[in-house]
Amino acid sequence: MSALHPPSENLSRTERIALNLYMITGLAVVILMMLGGIAMRMSQGTWIELPPDVFYQVMTAHGAAMVGIAGLTSSAVMWYFLRKYVRLSPGIFLANYVLFMIGAVLILGSIFVLQYGGGWTFLYPLPVKSNGMWSVHAAAGYMLGLVSIGVGFLLFYLDATLAILRVYGNLGRALGLQWLFGGAIDKSHPPTVVASTMVIIANGLGTLCGAVVLVLCLVNAYVPAFELNALIAKNMIYFFGHVFINASIYMGVIAVYELLPRYSGRPWGVSRPFLWAWAASTVMVIIVYPHHLLMDFVMPRWMLAMGQIISFTSGLPVLAVTAYGALTNVHRSGIRWSMPAKLLMLSMFGWAAGVIPAIIDAVISVNSVMHNTLWVPGHFHFYLLLGLWPMLFGFMYHVVRIRGGEPDSAIDKLGFPAYLVGGLAFAGMLLMAGQASVARRWAVHLPEWVPYAHAASIAAILVALATVVFAVRIAGGLLRAPNAGVAH
């Protein structure tokens, strides 16, 4: 038990409350937004009827909330483990949550009261050119909500940066760059510090870029003469969006580095390949974003080529270091497959397998016939649903001490395979629809596309039911052991 839950991870009462807020909010939002996703698929399948305006509002909320909550819940993972090595501020952690909730209220109000339906990516100039379908104020409210969330994350990263600098002197040392080309690696250097440093560099830049383009768009909303260059705005938006969602995975994977070794009984420390992987990922996650603009032919050729090639190389650290490292850590270890271990292992599979269709789609000639079909949500649902969220659920199961070495309950034995099968089927149906050229983000599907929506709806319902099982078990754990792990 102590090996699974070391005293260094005990929480003060304030910290416990803050972490619980993050976890409960994460569970509630992901389930609500899954219901939104199911409603959209069922409407595309003509099983229910959502008017197009409502469909696109739900789509906007689904995108913004799913990306936001992935970031928020992952940041809880990073905070939980990073605070063992550096001194993080619980106040800033709470401030990030409060700013997120303020942003969420603004976003939901803009969407469901003021009827903003411009998509979560606020692709300039759509938010302010709706052809009379929503007001400039609705768009401004939505963008202000995103700014609020972004400011919260920037505060969190700033706090983490200062804390890391106090201990390690500079970010390069925290990343372990001093050991890339030689020297005896300090095996006690925490992978959590390496991953967190990568995230604050990449997503600090990403979130800052997002804040800048949002402010520019807000100025444009009220001073139309202040026009933006649509291509530059698109670059900035996709840079921000790409880095933000990827940073969520990089924060979430900290749970795997920290927890999987405890369940397998084998250490998983830093090594030279590990440090190279994270150093390279820091650069690659920043420069790979042009793969979102491969169909913008006016982009400089070198950027399009870079988008394709860096997409290939980005797969190397995931496949050859992290996923392979997890397999090595577990192989013939005698691991006990309790829920956290199962979910963390699933997350490694989901991430590794999910990047395959993503990498292939980054080939420019493939992108020509796959971009903005359901192939795209197919691959990101694959590595978010089966990669990122199992990291987060595994972390939550661990933290609330539901398992604690006990055998899984019957409901867990049902929930896990249901989630796995439902997730695979859902992502698989999106990919299958994508290879059949079904367009993405269409409220009304052509008759020949409808069967895909039917199958995806059924799979999505299965995933949502399994997620409810996880949520009930985790919430139950919180209620049974409200003070577990609290420092006295």
């Binding site: 692709l123 052809n131 649509a230 090639i309 192989h331 013939r332 270890s333 016939v369 299958m432 269409w442």
Partner: protein, 181 residues
């Protein structure tokens, strides 16, 4: 086989290989062996795995980029028929709507309000080419049609509440039939 079919098969195969690796490890996880022995073997295999992936990446990059898949955006393609395309909320304007098989068509695509996606679907409903339509910029897409029939243009970039109705049609005729229909 279409590009989509090839991509689908490669993806399935790669995902199946990864799944098999995970299933193998999970199945063998209950028979403990010292970590050092596992690592020695695993890291030896990883070296080969890493370089195999690198070679695969270099080969794929060369095969798919040596002849750059995006047409030069300056000037005009030799012998191509030029068509001006404008995307507007929520319809397409095409300066011409009939083309011949075997003759390259250069679509000069722009938008006058928001971003749209100019996606060309063949008579079987399969996406054969696309390019973004963006205000303030003109993207040049060159495509040579091989199959005659009714083609549709679908918007592939979300552009507002009537996005899904932004559909246009044009016809491709067999080269010798042009002008007779």
């Amino acid at each position: 086989m279409t590009t989509q079919g090839i991509v689908w098969n490669i993806s399935l195969l790669a995902i199946a290989v990864i799944a098999a690796a995970f299933l193998y490890v999970v199945a063998r996880s209950g028979a403990p062996m010292p970590a050092e022995r596992v690592q020695k073997t695993a890291y030896g295999i990883r070296r080969w795995f890493f370089w195999a992936l690198v070679l695969l990446g270099i080969g794929t990059a060369y095969a798919t980029l040596a002849e750059f898949p995006v047409p030069d955006q300056r000037g005009q393609s030799a012998g191509a028929r030029v068509v001006n395309v404008v995307g507007k909320q929520w319809y397409w304007e095409l300066s011409e709507k009939q083309f011949s098989t075997g003759v390259p068509v250069e679509f000069r695509v722009t938008a006058n309000d928001v971003n749209h996606g100019f996606g060309i679907y063949d008579p079987d409903g399969r996406l054969v080419a696309q390019v973004q339509a963006m205000p303030g910029f003109t993207n040049r897409l060159v495509h040579t049609f091989t199959e005659p029939g009714k083609y549709r243009v679908l918007c592939l970039e979300y552009c507002g509440l009537v996005h899904h109705n932004m559909i246009a049609e044009f016809e491709v005729v067999a080269a010798r039939q042009e002008g007779k229909s």
